[in-house]
């Protein structure tokens, strides 16, 4: 026996080492909670590697920020202008969407639906990956110390990324949706067909379990269905890129993820989800006249310039006063009951809105093609704030103000967008939105100048 072992010593050791590893694997598979069984040695390995990764990421980000924030600022002003225009467009979109959301909430309330929304997120930075094309996972720089737990959803503003698989004190391992062992409940936006999303050997993402007799067209958005109890329903997943017959009776639907999974830098971990009964918006009906009364400036207490405007028309006097005073913000205006003057002014002024393209307000009108009355108001007020003299001389301030007033009914959703609202406010569009639109835009125009 000894001679046999001695003769095949190398082979014997190989078999022994393989046997031990297979035994270890079998124990992990049998207990299935391998995350706990192997936790300690994983912590050692991760703890050895991640500090270097953190250091490199920190150094890289530092040098990049130094370059981008101090030395390379060409085109920032132009970009700033574009972004501001984009924000205005998004304001308009928000108004429309908030109306839709309010309607949806009312319907959900009628049907006693429960809705799930993201209540809290933690931002994290990607510091490393599993480094293999056989397993697609990433390490983030937040762990149990930051409130992260296993099975939490990881998303970006673009779409879902994956779920937290293992948590260490200061880092976490995230299994991405393009890993072959991942599974996400997803559905097609238009047809509402549901399936299971997972990765392939090539790193692509496919939606399975959709019957082959269904009509699925490339380009259709894919959303999370909420069926996996990890991702809240309705988060963007991607778009259908290709449809082909799959195995058995199912379609093979390739999906292009919304989030750029290969170039992730920052992600959001959904640390808290809430489920609540759908609540409709405030059912109290607001009359357009009431809003108009709030929107139109109040009559000044003291007669500023007795000889300036002594018209019975409140709107006319308002516009002149506004131009003289440099577009005084109306945030302090006390809501007044609809007066005859206000209603009359609105009625008179509404048809005149298109005529605002004469002078100072031409810019405003130009930006607002396609609507958005609210933005019309905003933009025109911005114009007023920047060039009070122009408005005063030409009287365009009046038409600008009136435009705003005439559409004031839609302006309940013009709360300024907050930075975090893109993701964290999912399902919360019913928040009170009583802030007047003039507030953010009445700031000095120099705000868009870059300090550098």
């Amino acid at each position: 026996m000894e001679s046999v072992l001695g003769r095949y010593r190398n082979l014997t050791i190989l078999v022994g080492v393989l046997f031990l590893q297979i035994l270890g694997l079998a124990v992990q598979v049998k207990r299935s909670g391998d995350a706990e069984n192997t936790r300690l040695i994983r912590i050692w390995a991760v703890g050895t590697i991640t500090p270097f990764e953190r250091g490199l990421v920190w150094a890289h980000n530092g040098s990049r920020n130094l370059w981008h924030n101090y030395f390379f600022l060409r085109g920032v002003r132009a970009e700033n202008r574009e972004l501001k225009a984009q924000i205005e467009q998004m304001h308009l979109e928000q108004v429309r969407l908030s109306e839709d959301a309010a309607q949806a909430h009312r319907l959900q309330q009628l049907l006693a639906f429960k809705e799930q929304y993201i209540a809290k997120t933690v931002a994290a930075q990607v510091i490393g990956s599993s480094g293999s094309d056989l397993s697609r996972s990433i390490y983030i720089d937040k762990g149990s110390n930051d409130g992260i737990a296993a099975d939490m959803a990881v998303i970006t503003a673009g779409g879902i990324v994956g779920k937290v698989l293992r948590v260490y004190p200061s880092t976490s391992l995230v299994l991405m949706i393009n890993d072959q062992s991942s599974g996400v409940g997803a559905m097609l936006e238009k047809s509402r067909l549901q399936g299971v999303l997972h990765g392939t050997a090539n790193g692509e993402v496919v939606l399975e379990r959709v019957m082959s007799d269904e009509q699925v067209v490339p380009g259709e958005p894919v959303l999370s269905s909420g069926g996996d109890q990890i991702f809240p329903k309705g988060l963007p997943v991607g778009t259908v890129s290709n449809v082909s017959p799959g195995r058995e009776l199912f379609l093979n639907i390739q999906v292009k993820p919304s989030a750029d999974l290969s170039r992730l830098e920052e992600v959001l971990v959904v640390t808290q989800k809430r489920e609540r009964q759908a609540v409709a918006e405030n059912p109290v009906k607001v009359r357009a006249a009431d809003i108009l009364a709030q929107r139109l400036p109040s009559v000044p207490d003291k007669p500023a310039d007795a000889g300036t405007v002594k018209s019975a028309n409140g709107a006319a006097s308002t516009s002149v006063q506004g131009s003289n005073g440099g577009a005084k913000p109306q945030t302090g205006a006390v809501p007044k009951p609809p007066t005859e003057n206000a209603i009359g002014a609105a009625a008179k002024l509404s048809p005149a809105a298109p005529a605002a393209s004469n002078a100072g307000a031409a810019d405003a009108t130009h930006k607002l093609t396609g609507v958005a009355p609210v933005a019309t108001g905003e933009t025109s007020k911005k114009v007023l704030a920047k060039t009070p003299s122009d408005s005063a001389t030409s009287g365009n301030s009046r038409s600008a103000t009136q435009t705003n007033a005439s559409v004031g009914t839609a302006s309940s959703g013009t709360k300024p967008l907050s930075a975090s609202s893109s993701v964290a406010s999912t399902g919360k569009s019913s928040a009170p939105q009583s802030k007047p639109v003039t507030q953010p835009l009445s700031q000095p125009p120099a705000a868009d100048d870059n300090p550098h």
Partner: protein, 172 residues
């Protein structure tokens, strides 16, 4: 100069300093975990596998080779999402085979190294998939096209890497 003789052919056996023995595999593991984050295409490479093959073939000792492979593979498993031992088993086998091959053949030229690396990449993938699907029940799919491309890519990278690592060789 100590020389080992195998089948009448002169084949040199090399050894490495401790910093190189420990540092190079750790560096390979670190780069494998970090670089694909910046350059996603890098995930097609398997630096720990290349290091395993290099050390195993240079030392030409099967026991040393299989332990090197096992150690590197297990650490790689610890950093991944799957159960620990899949990479460990695959690299143990590769380490053993590479050192056994190295003891019989002189694979010092670039062409031989390219072919050997391609072959061991496929062996590694075969063992990995067998264990992953057979034992752990992972639903992994094998793509031949991707496998061959990745094997060739690793082969070319390996040729360059081996010439670089040759500088750390010390004759026994």
């Amino acid at each position: 100069m100590p020389i080992t003789y195998t089948s009448g052919e002169q084949i040199e056996v090399y050894r490495f300093s401790i910093p190189v023995t420990v540092g190079v595999p750790l560096l390979a593991l670190f780069l494998q975990a970090f670089v694909p984050r910046r350059f996603p295409f890098f995930s097609i490479f398997d630096l720990p596998l290349l290091v395993t093959i290099f050390f195993a073939m240079a030392r030409r000792n099967p026991i040393s080779g299989l332990f090197t492979g096992a150690a590197i593979g297990l650490v790689q498993d610890m950093l991944g999402a799957y159960p620990i031992g899949i990479y460990g088993i695959a690299k143990t086998v590769v380490g053993y085979l590479a050192s056994s091959l190295g003891a019989k053949l002189d694979v010092e030229n670039a062409g031989a190294r390219l072919l050997v690396t391609l072959g061991f990449y496929l062996v590694h993938a075969a063992v990995y998939f067998t264990v992953a699907r057979g034992m752990v029940s992972l639903t992994l799919d094998w793509s031949w096209v991707r496998g061959i491309v990745a094997g060739l890519a690793n082969g070319f990278l390996g040729v360059g890497l081996y010439f670089l690592l040759d500088k750390f060789k010390q004759r026994t």
